[in-house]
Symmetry: C2
Subunit: 635 residues, 2 copies
């Protein structure tokens, strides 16, 4: 995409062609504009077998296979046989035909004639025997043309003289005496077949995309900031602000930035991008359609696999992008996130591999606010995956509000060769930090929110209320306020964590905060009630090795959910403000007067909540409309 002169030849084995994500990827041409994009020439290599048996496409009638790919929209070129050099000539002919067709499509599209419909791109179906030119029969059993040639056709060459002879015959069949001179070097005949250096595959910068990577032209993210005069008083859809930023990024980088999203750009409040770019679509568009055209560059396809794969290709060839998805659906493509992390991990060890733009993943429509969906849509599992990757590549951010999101996103869009996971909901949410404080907070990764607690820093607090994630941050600040109102004698500290990797020991992750900072925030011995966006176990594994981790009582998503009110999700998962208050009392080193009454009050409020939502199908007004009092309560 946006790489008009690049032609990628993709060889697809008939084994891998059997997988779902690959079957889903043939429709990529419905999004490919020949005027400004390059092309892919798929070569479906049907040798008929995989590791242990035949394949579906290898054994279906040839007319059905042709019909299938014509149905996918391709011009099918078939090459079949086992004769030599006939196969070489026919395959070269097929490549030539395909190449002329592709360039013809591109020239026509680029000559100025506007394309309204997807062209019929060529593909090649190559049928050749599996294990072709290898030993045709071993131990009296057929090998060539069967699954037996998949791995090691001659297993016993060390012990079995007959196998050794078969191996020698096989290798001699390539006529090494014509290929190598007496010194063992390739002959001139062989060398003459090499392309000039500039045309060698390894010389293509597209195969080492970091060499082509240029920084994005990014606007000053501060200009998209929310004005926060007092924390916790104003509702904003944070991702909408981010969408405004993305629109500007699109505008300034028309050939090097794309958003990939399974049909949820508007739902995720990122719709501002449509002010500057349509959705890309090469199929029929009707007058009733909006923001969709062949010249659009926002990528929407209802396939997390295709979105993820396209973004991988886009970044690996040096361009920048973002994959935005409902949080729970990110597990659909988790295997791709893992494999891309592995690629980046290993690439970082190769000095000649230039760093590529990061794989940026925005998870929104989170577990805590799927008001109209429910349990199937409630799953913060990708955090659980990304934290297992090496510190060189893995980054997880949980911005609690719009300004933190902007600061984090700016950092991610500038970064290289990371997997950046950003998790924040799309619903209207309270805003906490003015932009300058947000920038400082995100740079530190975690800070004490002094205005949210009553711990003056002169001594250790009685309890630390920590939080990471937007909804649980609100519950934590609300819990701290309740505690201050009811038990002003209790010294409460509120710590917010935006960079999850800051919790890890610095020896295990470059973002890991120093031991001194960790102790400054969390003390060495005070109990910590940690309200976490994801599965509680994630925090336990991240803080391992920090002082006295048994004192961390983590609350989070414990796989309780349904279609319910926002506050009820926190109740069901025992991380509501009332649960946090009760946890604070139970874990305080002393029990101030009024504690028992406050426990009773919390239980009563929870009871009241349950009755109210059953009757009214929405949260109690004082919960729904809760804001942080501008003045801390005085007693």
């Amino acid at each position: 995409m946006d790489n008009p002169d690049l032609l990628a030849v993709a060889v697809v084995g008939d084994g891998e062609a059997e997988t779902g994500p690959l079957e889903g990827s043939w429709k990529g041409i419905s999004f490919l504009n020949p005027a400004r994009d390059g092309a892919v020439l798929p070569v479906l290599h049907l040798n008929g077998a995989k590791i242990a048996g035949p394949t579906v496409l290898g054994r279906k009638p040839a007319d059905e296979v042709r019909s299938l790919f014509e149905g996918h929209g391709y011009e099918v070129i078939e090459v079949s046989g086992d004769d030599l050099p006939g196969m070489h000539h026919r395959f070269a002919g097929a490549l030539g035909h395909a190449y002329r067709t592709i360039t013809g499509i591109q020239e026509s599209a680029r000559s100025g004639r506007k394309y309204h419909r997807r062209p019929r791109w060529p593909m090649i179906i190559l049928r050749s025997p599996k294990g072709w030119t290898g030993p045709s029969e071993v131990d009296g059993v057929k090998v060539t043309g069967t699954w037996r040639s998949h791995q090691v056709p001659l297993a016993g060459v060390r012990e079995n003289p007959e196998h050794l002879q078969l191996l020698e015959n096989w290798l001699r069949s390539y006529r090494p005496e014509e290929l190598f001179n007496e010194g063992g070097f390739p002959t001139d005949l062989v060398l003459a077949a090499n392309p000039p250096r500039s045309l060698q595959l390894s010389a293509s910068a597209h195969a080492n995309g970091g060499r082509l990577t240029r920084d994005l032209d990014l606007p000053d993210f501060r200009s998209f900031a929310v004005t926060v005069t007092h924390p916790g008083t104003e509702l904003v859809e944070s991702t909408r602000r981010f969408g405004d930023l993305l629109a500007e990024v699109y505008q300034r980088n028309p050939q090097t930035f794309r958003l990939f999203c399974p049909d949820e750009t508007n739902s995720n409040r990122l719709g501002s991008v449509f002010d500057v770019s349509d959705r890309a679509f090469m199929e029929r568009v009707t007058p009733d359609d909006v923001k969709i055209s062949s010249t659009g560059r926002v990528m929407e396809v209802l396939s997390e696999h295709s979105c993820h794969g396209w973004l991988e290709g886009y970044t690996l060839t040096g361009r920048h992008g973002l994959f935005a998805t409902y949080e729970a659906f990110a597990m659909v493509s988790a295997s791709q996130t893992i494999q891309h992390s592995k690629w980046l991990e290993e690439a970082s060890r190769l000095s000649w591999r230039a760093k590529v733009p990061s794989l940026n993943v925005l998870l929104t429509s989170t577990a805590w606010r799927n008001d109209h969906n429910g349990f199937s849509h409630q799953g913060p599992g990708l955090i659980q995956i990304v934290i297992t990757h090496r510190g060189e590549v893995s980054r997880v951010y949980l911005p609690p509000d719009a300004n933190c999101l902007l600061a984090v996103a700016d950092h991610c869009l500038r970064s290289r060769s990371y997997v950046n996971l950003i998790v924040i909901d799309k619903q209207p949410q309270l805003q906490w930090l003015p932009i300058d404080q947000a920038i400082e907070h995100c740079a530190r990764g975690a800070s004490i929110w002094t205005w949210a607690g009553n711990d003056d820093g002169s001594r250790e607090p009685d309890i630390v209320l920590a939080c990471a994630g937007d909804v649980v941050t609100m519950e934590t600040v609300a819990a701290a306020q309740i505690l201050q109102e009811h038990l002003p004698q209790l010294q409460v500290r509120v710590v917010n964590v935006v960079d999850l990797m800051a919790l890890i020991r610095p020896k295990d992750h470059p973002h890991g905060m120093s031991e001194v900072l960790f102790s400054e925030l969390f003390t060495d011995s005070v109990n910590v009630i940690f309200a976490f966006h994801g599965f509680p176990g994630a925090v336990h594994q991240l803080i391992h090795g920090r002082p006295n981790t048994d004192r961390f009582h983590v609350r989070g998503f414990i796989e309780q959910g349904t279609t319910t009110t926002p506050f009820d999700m926190t109740v069901k998962n025992r991380v509501s403000r009332f649960h946090l208050v009760m946890d604070a009392i139970h874990n305080s080193p002393h029990t101030p007067r009024g504690s028992a009454d406050l426990l009773t009050w919390c239980a009563r409020r929870l009871h009241e909540h349950e009755g109210y939502i059953i009757e009214h199908l929405e949260d109690l007004p004082d919960i729904k409309n809760w804001t942080l009092s501008p003045q801390p309560p005085t007693h």
Copy 2:
């Protein structure tokens, strides 16, 4: 499958049809035998749009769509329009035609004529307007036939009288006065359209498959046991024994058990099943093929998604099965594992839902022994996922040898409504426990292996070496032996964990071992070096809340891997016997004479290892051929 009289109608929206796994699933008919299986009638409902825009299949030319599904092997029946009652009649006609075609195929196959080729099953493509019969236009913008009708076409009925009027018009268009009598009850006309109770969907036992579930006829797993006269002296491919058991299960339960595996049954050493059943395949079979036919019942398709989905359907309709896959590839279908867990979790709260057979997942070809593959194949991520699910459903077993595998598998095959994850490698591996001890060990979930340590139980040991997982168990036993040889003064206890959930507190998981047992095994304060099969963080999160968890030093897969020797994988991830010995010394409460020498020795051995594998491409002979000395060393 194996449900000859069941016809399932699957309605597929054109949004979901865009996903990869769904595109991959059309090929299911290549594995469906009309003589003994039921049928699926897919209805692809192309209304043209998803949440926010058009779909590919909805906008491709109709002849391409037809060609696509004919290419998938279907007879395409098209119904299209927006006229009423014409559409009802035409759709009823299409259903009738499809039904007759399906029953015709089945009758022909069941009349005794042998089927050699897949029949052309019918499917229906239904094109009707999206939001059909809803408000056609709202606020001057077209709604019917567009994505705008996807969710709530009239958002402002509470505030906007015009919207309220549109809503009323819409609802009145269904002529409620003909449908309900004055008391608000359905009229006789409506009731007459209901099928008799026995034909109602909710009366089908297939929709509540637990009602149809019968226990498997299982052989005595003890009869497949390995004879272990002395632990750690004999190499056996553990999964091969399990394959022998599975063959017997197949034999005894010809209609109620199937194995689902992406082309790896033989690779995973489960090939004994082919002695009693071929692979299922309805496409062309050649004389060179082996163990594959239309009457086969082993399900091999190179799609984890299809394997997982088929097994889900099989168990949900009351039959039993196992999904066996390379460990790392299990992440491909992780999202399905999650959603099935969620289904089981919620189903357990509905008293009328009878329990169904468990979803059994065998992960083999593990991270530690992918000798010929490498880093992409090294990923124990699914453990990380399953441990986040509710205790009601989640089970993770790490049998260290064949006999433990047999005991665990027998338990899993008898169980109901769990997700059972069993993780064990396929390569030849040392055997530890005679079958009776294995049964007891698995029932306890974790035990002290007294023969592996030198801790006599009279007092607390100096160090506990714990392990979970086959390869790391071998390293742990070897480390304990090294310590006993070199530092006999050090009291070493070896604890093996086979049921990972036993580590969790009993209040959080029904398998969680009691506090007393936990302290009996791990003490309350002695340092524990825990060698774990998966990511170390998993153990940290599981043991949270146990006494003094900071003393647990967990080693495991830390995302270091490549194509290398088996022992080098443990070296790269710092969980080799030498690393464990060094960890033990560093975490021992006292430092026996000889400790420094032993540290030096370990470093030297690691150095020697590195040099040797580079030269010989295999492990040092004393590592490769290591067995446990039958007599503990005396000093």
